[in-house]
Symmetry: C2
Subunit: 492 residues, 2 copies
């Protein structure tokens, strides 16, 4: 590093749009993913971990959910090839399913969890590296595979701590929408442009509401800034069919299915789609997943443009308060569906596939928002250093504590200023400090300071009942571990 | 994807030098890292997860262990900046320690685990993405921090399944080497070139042996290809001092320390280094880590050029057979030491730091080589499909099995060819298959096939004693789960 001397110092900054995760932010996510992996495994899914890097050729020059080709990935050239960081876990699965098609079991159930990267403009809450946690079944044409993934998703949510009743998984079907489009007279090859506008319009239901979507189905819509988006030019009657689809949900699954059947009368693909929804509902009921957990809901429109068959989305139904203090439903934490064309890019053969992606950060945020994760990270017991020459004795103490499974450490900074040691213990959220100087060593004792109780006493110092409560005890050296254990148990 | 039609199909290949990990290769590594993280946590270390991407400026334009500046990383330009994938976990720690220096506790004990990337020519067993698993203490000048990491490393090895006696952690000290160089007359500013040659020479002890190193300390060395490497030009007496250092290990720690003291007589830095080794040994003994686990060994020379104080290395001492069938010691699985200059790059302030990096792939390979990981992955119980119309019943069965915690799945491929279903079960290493057709449904029973026993019977078909052993049982439907559980318990 001698040659660095004359150079200006580098800036110590996280690159724009990236994040550093500390302590509990790392371990709580890992614990949640660990639980989800156990559910995936129980359902027969096998782990797959591909590398972060793919050839741009294999990734495809597009993201599934954005409209910008040639953008969105971090890429660099290597000799004649371009390499890039994966932008999701589905594209690498498609590559693997094609590459190892003669060796993998078929159907191939696989799960994957890990970071993905998006080369997007960073914004508040939008990061360029984030976790995904996917499960997909490749090579199963039966909608039993879709039903299975819906059931598994419900199990995952309950396993990590979302109570039954606090979530609902909504199931829709792209084929029903295709049927609706057919009934609305939009099925011909010459109607591709209109179908595109309709798909984009219904994808905006969340944001624009029915009125906004209806405008986009008709002549078009002027947004708040005055920009005009051209509509699909549907007649009122045609638009009614499409809106009817989005609003087809009834009180019971059977009534919803009946309404959808009406809407797609005369369209074979639509009828097939409704039959698939009925079959999924029947299979789920047989497994014990009733409408309290999984329902048919045609208002699930997200991803309908991408998927080719069943589409599903998990929504958390409890309220949280948003940044402005207003109550709102927590919303979607996972989504997926059936896509039959990803492997085809490589092999020319259509391979049926269906899968789900759990939004790791959102689900974790939901668990924290509802107190399902107790984020009070407990720091280590701190063995303070009163006498530097006794370091071996302090190390013996900490070894005893660790051997008893108690998280602990010796203070390893400069021990001169004892106040700094207690400040350090505070910063680490230490529950207990051990103190031993020459007096204690002479008497064969240690001082044990209950830092949680100490903080409570400090807070309530004016109250009579707290005044005389001691938070520090002298105990015989050979009772140190037992006493620390008792204090920790009492704090928990 | 419509516009893909006319393009040639992309190749489905893992990029050169990268790997895909399947099933147990993923979960066994995760389980090992989980155990190591628990030990790190018990020692008071906090998790840190930085993003994969850093600015090239923050990373520094060098790798710690290669001689090529400006190479070795995957980098790309973004506007005026260059971004790159991290090549290790220490450079991001240095950036974090500088960036958050006012918020982090000091000393800051942190652990990190995750992939790192090296832009190197891929070769056999050399990959461009691999895992590291580090623990470092930043801001502790005391060698108690080094001793603690050595003890923690021993605990980690035992926790993952390396038996005591099967490993040794060797501790050396760069300051002792500096003292040796001083005694050999190589301490002046004008001797920097010679010191460099000496450092590189002793780093090659493993590969060249003492004779080769001695040649490099003297006039130079001609290798097998005939290439000549110029030596440091030391006299015989000077070289004796350096070689004496590498061979200073004696039967006991005290004897080794005595020998080192002789070698560095008159060199203050050398004397200080020997004192540090003595202190580390004393602290470790106090914690119960004797020379059966951690020893002072001056022949540890790897990384001496990089580190500034204590250096440590964990070696597995049991024999494995190499690719040519010859027995050899398994060798190093972790190493580390004290480095005081990384944070200085950013802040100008020297911050003492010490840390270890565990070679995740090598340690995992060691566990597999010695049977410490039982890699017989158990596949799911397969509920076969005899009658497609009964899919809801099969789903009910599998839900019961899963609710009992039994990994299981319904066959979701095309059920027409029953042989394919059993082939699939074989490929998945399924322990048990459930079979139920219309006869079984009529009678309220299921057939349970013990696939492990079935395979054994097939293997021993000519032996009388195996001939009549049934591997398939008809059981009442409501006893299915209990019977599967019993078979699985019997197989385990």
């Amino acid at each position: 590093m001698a040659n660095d001397k004359k150079q200006p110092r580098p800036k110590a900054v996280t690159p724009k749009g990236f994040q550093d995760y500390f302590g509990a932010d790392v371990t709580e996510r890992a614990a949640m993913l660990h639980k989800i992996a156990a559910v995936y495994h129980r359902y027969g899914f096998d782990a797959l971990e591909t590398s972060a890097v793919e050839t741009v050729e294999a990734l495809g020059k597009f993201l599934p959910d954005v409209d910008r080709p040639n953008e969105g990935v971090f890429a660099w050239q290597e000799d004649a090839d371009w390499l890039a960081l994966r932008y999701d876990l589905t594209a690498p699965l498609a590559r693997v399913a094609a590459q190892y098609r003669n060796d993998l079991p078929s159907p191939y159930r696989r799960y994957a969890m890990g970071p993905v990267w998006r080369n997007e403009k960073p914004g508040p809450g939008r990061f360029r590296q984030f976790y995904q946690c996917d499960a997909d079944t490749v090579g199963a044409a039966s909608v039993a595979a879709d039903a299975e993934i819906c059931a598994m998703l419900a199990d995952c949510l309950e396993e990590v701590g979302i109570a039954r009743g606090d979530y609902v998984i909504r199931v829709n079907n792209r084929k029903v929408l295709n049927g609706v489009l057919e009934v609305a007279g939009l099925s011909g090859d010459d109607k591709e442009a209109e179908r595109g506008i309709v798909l984009r319009a219904i994808d905006k239901l969340d944001r624009l509401g029915v009125t906004g979507v209806r405008a986009l189905l008709g002549e078009g819509r002027k947004d708040e800034s005055g920009d005009f988006t051209k509509g699909a030019g549907l007649s009122e009657a045609q638009a009614d069919v499409v809106i009817g689809f989005m609003e087809a949900k009834r009180d019971t699954g059977a009534a919803t299915v009946a309404r959808l059947s009406e809407l797609v009368t005369g369209s074979p693909v639509g009828v097939a789609g409704v039959a698939e929804l009925e079959e999924i509902a029947a299979l789920l009921t047989a497994q014990g997943y009733g409408p309290d957990r999984i329902i048919i809901d045609p208002s699930v429109v997200r991803g309908l443009g991408y998927y080719t068959g069943p589409v599903y989305e998990a929504e958390l139904t409890f309220e949280v308060t948003d940044e402005k203090g207003r109550p709102r439903n927590f919303g979607s934490v996972a989504g997926g569906g059936r896509y039959d064309d990803l492997v085809k890019r490589f092999t020319g053969q259509e391979v049926p596939a269906t899968g789900v992606s759990i939004g790791v950060d959102r689900l974790l945020a939901a668990l924290r928002a509802t107190g399902r994760i107790d984020s009070k990270a407990v720091g280590p017991v701190i063995v303070t250093v009163m006498d530097r020459a006794k370091m071996a004795d302090y190390q013996t103490m900490v070894a005893e504590l660790r051997n008893a499974g108690i998280r602990s450490e010796v203070y390893l900074g400069n021990p001169k200023n004892f106040g700094n040691q207690l400040k350090y213990a505070d910063k680490r959220a230490s529950p207990v400090a051990i103190i031993a100087g020459s007096d204690e060593f002479d008497q064969g004792i240690v001082q044990i300071k209950d830092l949680v109780l100490g903080a409570q006493i400090a807070q309530n110092a004016t109250l009579e009942e707290w005044k005389d409560r001691p938070s520090q005890y002298a105990v015989p050296r050979d009772q140190m571990v037992a006493r620390v254990r008792a204090i920790l148990d009492g704090q928990a």
